[in-house]
Amino acid sequence: MEFGWTADEQGFRRELLEFLREALPQDWEEIAKDGPGSDVQAGFSRAFCGLLASRGWLTQHWPREYGGRDASPWRHAILGEELWARGEPRGPQYMNVNWIGPTIMAFGSEEQKREHLPRISRGEVLWCQGFSEPQAGSDLVALRTLATRDGDVYVVNGSKIWTSYANYAEFCFLVVRTDPESKRHRGISVLLMPMSLPGVEIREIPSVVGERYFHEVFLSDVRVPVSCRLGPENDGWSVVTYALQFERVGAARYARAALTLDGLAARLAKEGRLADPTVQERLGRARAICEAARLLSYRVIDLRAHGQPPSADSNVARVAGTFADRVVGELGLDLFGPDAFEYGGFAESNFRLAMTAGVAVGATEVQLNLIAQRFLGLPQE
C-alpha cells in the first residue's frame, strides 16, 4: 500500500495540464455553460476529442489491438480527473471510452469490434445510451421496448427516455426485451443500434439542467440487423451489469466538485470573506467530503489496476462522489445567495450540473441497496 504517483503518471499529468492550457480556449466556461448537450459544447467536444486521440490519450488504457496503448488505468483516471474538473470537454465521449468500448471488447463479435472500436478510439463517433423507459427508471428490468425477431433483423418498438446526446449520437447502446414472454432480468438483449435507421424519432424534453439535456427516443418498427446484437440473445442483462460497473465510476464527479470548490474559495477571497469562521467551516467540510470521494474512486481504479473484477466498491465510490457534488452545489448557492440567481454564473452553472448527481446513471437509493447487500452482506427479504 502506498499513495504516490509514479514518475510516468506525474509526467503525464504535467503534459496534460500544459496541453489543456493550449487546447481549452479562454472562453471555455462560456462554451460549457449550457452543458454538454448544447450545440456549442458538442461541436467543441468533437474537435477536442480528435486532439486527444491524435496524442493517443483518448483511449490510452485500452489494449493496443483496439487502438489503445495498454496504459495503466491510473493514466486514464488522471485524464478523467483533469477533464471532469474542467467541465468535461470530451462531452459525451467519456461514455464511449469508459464503458461502451470496454463492453464491446468484452462481449462483441470480431466484426463489431472492427466496426466500432477504432472509431471510438479516434474520437469520431458519438453514442447515447438507451436504458431508461417511461415505466422503467430505477427499476430498469421493468423495461418493455420489444425487439421481435424477423429473419436477420429485429423489429423494435417502444421508447426510451432521459437519453442525453440522442440528438447527436450515431449509435445507441439499446437495451431491449427480445423474449416477449420473459420477466425481469431474463429475456433482455443489447443492440448497438444506428440512430439513422427509419422509425427512430427524437423529441427534446426541455429541462432546468441545460440545453438538450434530456430526450425521449421513440422506436416504431425500427429494423435493426441481428448482427448489431451485443452478446447473447436473452441474456443481455449480464452485458448491462458489466457496463454499469464501469459507468458508475466513469465520471470523476469528485474532481469537478473539488475544482468548483477552489473556484468558490477564490471568489470568496476576492470579496475578503475567507477569514469568516463560518465560511471556513463550510468550505472545510465540503473539501473533506470531496477528498473522501477522490480516494474511494481511486480504490475502484486500484482494483481495476490489480485485475480484480468490478465490486460493490464502485457503488461506495459513486455514493461518495454524488454527495460531494451535491454538497458543493448547495454550498455555492448558500455562499453567494441571490447573486447566484443569474443564469450562467459560476455557482449557478455548477449547481445545475450538480443537482442531477443523485439521479443520473442510477439513483443513489439503488447504489445504497447494492452496498447494503454486496458490501455489508445484509439480507434481502
Binding site: M1, A265, A275, V279, E281, R282, G284, N369, L378
Partner: protein, 313 residues
Amino acid sequence: MDFELSDDQRAIVEAVDALLAQHAGPKRAIELFASGEYDAALEAALDKAGFLDVALGGETGPLDAALCVEAVARAAGAVAIGASTLVAPGVVGRTLPGPIALASAGASPIVRFGAHARTLLVADSQAGLARIVELSAGDAEPVRSNFGYPMGRVARGLQKSGEALPPGSYERLLAWWRVALATEAAGTMRSALTVTTDYLKQRRQFGRSIASFQAVQHRLAECAVMVEGTRWLALEAAWRGAPVEAAATAVAYATAAAARLFLETHQLSGAIGYTREHNLHVFSMRLEALRLELGGVGDHRRALARARWGGAT
C-alpha cells in the same frame, strides 16, 4: 498508487491482529473499563513485538504504524496507541516513555490516558511550540467517565512546563495528532458498524431480520461509505507524513463521520445498544471521545480551509 497491502504490510497486520486476539477485544475492554485501568500488559506486548516504533523502522514508516493503530482501535485496545506509534515518532523523531497523553495548553485539563501517562505531549498554541512533560505521581488524577477510555485531569500549570521543542513542533504535533485521531476513529468506527450489522442480521422483528429493511439498510450503507472514506483519508495522510492540509482533511471527515456513526448505530440497535452486556458501547462511546478531542470538527474544518485557501484565524 496501490491500495492493496504489500507482503510486508500484510505480515505486520496479521502479526498485530494475532497479538490483539490474545491481549485485546471488547470483553477485555469492558473488564478494564470497570476498574478504570490502562492496559499496561497490552502496551508491553505491543512494545516487545516491536509495533510501537514501526514508524521509525528502516523498512517501515508511518503508514505501517497507522495500520497498527487502526488494528488496535478495531480491537478496542485500552492503550494510547496513536500517541505512541504515530504522534511521538512524527513530532520528536523517537519513541517516548509510555503511556503518552496529548493535551492542548489552555484547553480542557481532562485528557485521554491522563491519569496513567508517564509523558504528556502539550500543544502550546500561544508559544507556537510543543512541549514534552514528564509526569510524576500526583500530577494527574483519574476522572470518572463514560467515554470509553481511561480519562485523567492533568494539573493546569504542567501544560506550560517541560522541555520545549523547536519551532514548527506545534504544527507537527497538531498534524500528527489529527492523523492519529482519524486513524483511531477509522478502526473504532469499523468495529461499531460491524457490531451493529452483526446484531441487526440476527435480530428479528415483524417476522424478519431487521437488517433486511431497506430503511435500515440505507443508513448502514451510508455509514459504510463514511467508514471507508475515513480509513483511506487517514492512511493516505499517514503515508504522506501528515502534511497540515491532509491531516486536517482526514480528521475533519473522521469526526463528522464519527458523530453520524454514533447516532445511527445506537438508533438502529435499540435499547440493547446502551447496555454493558452488548459490545456497541465499547466502540461508540470512544467515537464521541475522539470526536471532541483537539477542538472537534469545527476546528478541524477551519484548519483545513486555512491550510488550503489561506484566510486569517
